[in-house]
Every structure is written in structure tokens, then in C-alpha cells.
């Protein structure tokens, strides 16, 4: 583990009063490796290492902690601080319905997560409406309808001949008419560099002013996480992140990259294919996972 590597590096440093810049550089080289192996994007690793170095150099070495343990403590603290608090909840609208737009790359888990989120709200006494706004993918609407049936949650759809903007506008009116307090909009997967499809999201945002735009990110995403997150933040603006497929064995460094470049919190974590596999986000868990 990183802990073991650092303790062996620092075996010879017993008895010194404080961490020198050289000690810290040697230790941080190992940390850099660990973060890259965990799929944290290169530029995020760089700025993160620089911040930790600033804090660690000159730090007094105490009796209770070895130099290696001290560096890890700084790394862990900085990671935890970066990943934010665990109280990131959905922002409700002062005027219902609260509209949540699910966006992200193809196959990230938007449709499944839309169902999971709807179930989460239904189980906590809300009255959600799912909206099938993916008019492109074969059987996407059917997929959401089957999910809605399983959960006994209504799904609003207008088939795939109407534009997504028309669909969300009509869905909002339906929500108002039928007293739904939460609207969850499932959108089509898209590349962040597809300008036409990114414009479609902007048009949808403009037409219904959602409270939440949740970027769905696959936990196994590698270096490209910074590009995806930056693009979505710049071109659309997101309010939060859902990290999916955390039941796999990917280290999940993408979580760090996304948080660093967007500043937006991870609000939920997908932990399986079933519709109850949604958990709140615990920063310390992802930190331990990233540090291996």
C-alpha cells in the first residue's frame, strides 16, 4: 500500500525535527504514482501534489507519527477536504416542481440512475414524475417506462418524434397539473464535444430552468474525466455529480478529477444494477478507495 511504501522510504528519517523539502518530494513521488494508478487526471494530480507539498514542508515531525504517516495524513486531509462534505443534498425549488436533469456521456448510467433517484424520492414521501427525453437511442423510452412500471412511478413520454425541449415543457405542465413535486428528466447520452447535442441541453435548461443538473459519471472513467467535466460545466453548468458503477473495482480517481475541475459535489453513488442500488456520497470512502 501507499502507507507501506512511504514507511519504507522514511525508515532512515527517524530523529529529524521536521520534514525537509527533499523528504517531501521523495514521498510525494510515491503519492503521485498512487494517484495516477487510481486514474486521477494528470493535471489534477499535479495541482494536488503542489498543495500538499506547501503544507507538508517544514512540518514538525512528532513522536506519535512517523514522517511517512505524517505525509499520508496531509494527503488524506487534503483529499477529504477536496471531496467536500457528505451533506450534499438535492436542492428543492421554492416553487414546485423541483426539476432534476440527468446528463452525461453515453452509457454512464443516466436512465438507471433516474429510476433509482425517483425511487429514493418516492420512498421519502415525494411524488416524482420521470420524463423520457431521450428520443435517439433505440428503446430508450421503453427502458424508462419499464423502470417506471417496476417502481410504480409514472413516466411522461411523447414518443421520439417530438424534440426534447417540447417534451420537458409539456412534462413540466403535466407535473404542475398533477401535483408532482419532483421532475426527473432522463436525457440522451452525448459526447461533450458534440456541439449540436450540447446546445440541445442548453435549450432544455433554458426552457424549464431546472434546480439540479446532475452529471452522471462512470466510476471507471480515466484521464478523460477532466475533459468531460470541464466541458459540461463550461457549456451547460452542472449542480452535482452522480458517480455510477461503484460496485465495480475501479479505484474511482475520476471522482477527484470531476470535483477539482467543477467544484460541484458528488450527491449520490450508484452501487449496482438494481433500482435500490443508490447511496449517499461518503467522501472518506472514496478517499480510502483512491489511496488504495
Amino acid at each position: 500500500t501507499l502507507q507501506d511504501k512511504l514507511s519504507s522510504i522514511f525508515k532512515k528519517l527517524r530523529g529529524r525535527g521536521s520534514l525537509t523539502a527533499q523528504d517531501v518530494d521523495v514521498a510525494l513521488r510515491e503519492v503521485r504514482l498512487a494517484l495516477l494508478e487510481a486514474d486521477v487526471s494528470l493535471k489534477v494530480v499535479r495541482s494536488f501534489i503542489a498543495r500538499v507539498k506547501e503544507k507538508a514542508v517544514g512540518a514538525a515531525v512528532w513522536e506519535s507519527l512517523s514522517p511517512g504517516q505524517l505525509v499520508i495524513k496531509y494527503v488524506r486531509d487534503e483529499l477529504t477536504f477536496l471531496m467536500g462534505n457528505e451533506n450534499a443534498r438535492i436542492e428543492f425549488s421554492p416553487q414546485p416542481p423541483t426539476i432534476i436533469m440527468m446528463v452525461g456521456l453515453n452509457g454512464a448510467g443516466k436512465t438507471t440512475s433516474s429510476g433509482k433517484l425517483a425511487k429514493f424520492f418516492k420512498d421519502s414521501e415525494h411524488f416524482p414524475l420521470l420524463v423520457a427525453a431521450d428520443i435517439y437511442r433505440p428503446a430508450a423510452i421503453k427502458q424508462l417506462e419499464i423502470i417506471g412500471e417496476k417502481l410504480e412511478i409514472p413516466v411522461f413520454s411523447m414518443g421520439n418524434k417530438q424534440s426534447p425541449v417540447e417534451i420537458v415543457k409539456a412534462a413540466k405542465n403535466q407535473a404542475l397539473a398533477q401535483g408532482h413535486d419532483i421532475l426527473i428528466v432522463d436525457t440522451a447520452g452525448r459526447m461533450h464535444i458534440d456541439e449540436v447535442l450540447m446546445q440541445e441541453l442548453r435549450d432544455m435548461k433554458l426552457s424549464v430552468s431546472p434546480q439540479e443538473i446532475l452529471l452522471t459519471v462512470d466510476a471507471m472513467t480515466g484521464q478523460d474525466a477532466v475533459n468531460i467535466a470541464e466541458s459540461f460545466e463550461e457549456k451547460l453548468g452542472v449542480t452535482g455529480v452522480i458517480l455510477t458503477k461503484m460496485d465495480g473495482d475501479a479505484r474511482g480517481g475520476a471522482a477527484l478529477s470531476v470535483k477539482e475541475v467543477t467544484g460541484k459535489p458528488v450527491k449520490f453513488v450508484g452501487t449496482g444494477e438494481k433500482l435500490d442500488a443508490l447511496e449517499p456520497f461518503y467522501p472518506d470512502r472514496i478517499v480510502s478507495r483512491i489511496l488504495g
Partner: protein, 278 residues
């Protein structure tokens, strides 16, 4: 980036950065850079441009030496099993592969063996309709092995050239799902001794290190004959395939770069590397 004049420290740093941010990985990047420095020294190359071209040729040789066209048996249908983790692009890649094979005048059939996920069968049925190919399926919740059994029988009876089997997305870390995959393979092999002739894993070009673990673990359940690298129409470079090639010798056979049937091509190492090192 290497239209620079000098092969100096800054060049090597930039090259390392480019490779690391393309998911080539620390170990493979180090290996390639060491090799390059060696080549530059031995062949007395002093300019970045010729060195980069030399490097691309060197890596392309490694990648292409393993890539071959699709395996086809002497008689009977060629069975292609498509596997991979959730959401990578299996179903869409199957549609593209069917389209590609059909445009080369082959008779193609599909098997909808993802009986688990909501509307998975519907999704492949819609593709079958638009491609004009036969599809073997059952009800949602049915047994995937039973679908494969029926599909192989139908492919033989209807004299199909290719039978492409779509399976459910499954995380390689879930042993019960890997066991299900082994069973699917056994059922296919019982019906046609050398089948599946191809087992292709679909990898998402934006996946990091986990792609290596996926390829390794899937290989243990169903020996892989090739990779379909999908979603290359984003900004991800798919550099992880350099490591997979190095450690597992599984060749990339096809790439996907879009959601339409024609957004598909046979893997070309030289073009892939030009894009990676652009």
C-alpha cells in the same frame, strides 16, 4: 506537439505527459520512453519528428502483429460472442458489426442473450429491423444460455455466415456473472465444437486502468480473441490498449466512433497512433 527542434528534457517531459493523460499508464509509458531513448541513441536520431515517426512504427508493429481479421470456420456459421461491462457499447457495436459484415455480402443473424436489462431485447430488435437481419430472442427474464442454444441451431439451419451474440453488461468483479458467461460458452461449444470462434470484449475508450482488469478477468471466463474499442469520437484516446496489448496480447480488431451503424471500422494501428500522439 513535437514540431520542436530539440530532443531535450522538455520534449521527454511533454511526451510523458501526453502518454499519461491518454491513459497509457505509468509502467507502459516508462517502458516506451526508455525504448525510445535507446532507439534515439542507437540510431543516432537527434530530431523529435523522425523519432516520433520511428516510435509510431515500432508501436504499430506490436499492435498490428496481433490483429487479424475475423475467424471463420471451414463450414457452418462463425459464432461471435460479444462481452463487456455495463454500458460500454456492446449492443450498438453488434449492430455496427452486423452492418459491416452485411455490406461485405455476408448473411448475419443476431441473438438477444441479454435477458436481464430493461428493454435490452427491444433495443436489439429495433436494430435487427433496421439492418434487415434475423434475430433470435426470448422473453425478458429468460435464460441467456437457452437463447444461445436456439440461436446456434437457427444459424445452422438458416445457413448464416455469422451469428453475433449480445450478452448482458456485467462487472468482471461479480463472480456469479462470470460463471453465467462460462455457462453461455459451454452451451455454445456443445452445439459447435470450435465455437464461439470469436469472443470480442467491448471497451469504452474513456475507461482508465480498469480496462486492463476487465480484459484480464473476462479472459479467464471466456478467452478473448479481440477487442472492440468504442466511443473514440470523444476526447478519450484509449491509450490503455497499449498496456493491454503489452500484457495480454489481445488485439484490437475494430473501433467505434459514433452511434450510427457506419461509425465503425477495422482497427488501423497507424491511424490510431497518429491520433494518440497528435
Amino acid at each position: 506537439f513535437y514540431f520542436w527542434k530539440k530532443l531535450d528534457g522538455e520534449f521527454w517531459e511533454e511526451l510523458e505527459d501526453l502518454m499519461l493523460s491518454s491513459d497509457v499508464g505509468v509502467a507502459t509509458t516508462g517502458k516506451i520512453i526508455d525504448e525510445l531513448k535507446d532507439i534515439a541513441h542507437k540510431e543516432r536520431i537527434t530530431e523529435p519528428m523522425p523519432l516520433m515517426e520511428r516510435m509510431k512504427d515500432y508501436i504499430a508493429d506490436i499492435l498490428s502483429s496481433r490483429s487479424k481479421s475475423l475467424i471463420k470456420p471451414a463450414s457452418g456459421p462463425a459464432v461471435i460472442l460479444v462481452v463487456g461491462v455495463n454500458g460500454v457499447g456492446k449492443t450498438t457495436s453488434i449492430a455496427k458489426l452486423a452492418y459491416w459484415l452485411k455490406s461485405n455480402d455476408s448473411k448475419v443473424m443476431l441473438a438477444a442473450a441479454d435477458t436481464f436489462r430493461a428493454a435490452a431485447i427491444d433495443q436489439l430488435q429495433i436494430w435487427a429491423n433496421s439492418l434487415g437481419v434475423d434475430i433470435i430472442k426470448t422473453k425478458e427474464g429468460g435464460d441467456p444460455s437457452a437463447v444461445c442454444f436456439d440461436a446456434v441451431a437457427a444459424a445452422k439451419a438458416r445457413k448464416a455466415d455469422y451469428l453475433i451474440i449480445d450478452t448482458a453488461g456485467r462487472l468482471h468483479s461479480k463472480s456469479n456473472l462470470m460463471e453465467e458467461l462460462k455457462k453461455i460458452r459451454r452451451v455454445i461449444a456443445r452445439e459447435i465444437p470450435d465455437a464461439p470462434h470469436e469472443t470480442l470484449i467491448v471497451l469504452d475508450a474513456a475507461t482508465g486502468k480498469n480496462a486492463l482488469a476487465q480484459a484480464k478477468t473476462f479472459s479467464e471466463a471466456a478467452p478473448l480473441t479481440g477487442i472492440i474499442l468504442a466511443k473514440l469520437d470523444g476526447t478519450a484516446k484509449g491509450g490503455i490498449i497499449l498496456t493491454i496489448s503489452d500484457e495480454l496480447s489481445v488485439p484490437v480488431k475494430f473501433i467505434g466512433f459514433g452511434e450510427k451503424p457506419e461509425d465503425f471500422a477495422a482497427f488501423n494501428a497507424a491511424e490510431f497512433l497518429d491520433a494518440l500522439f497528435a
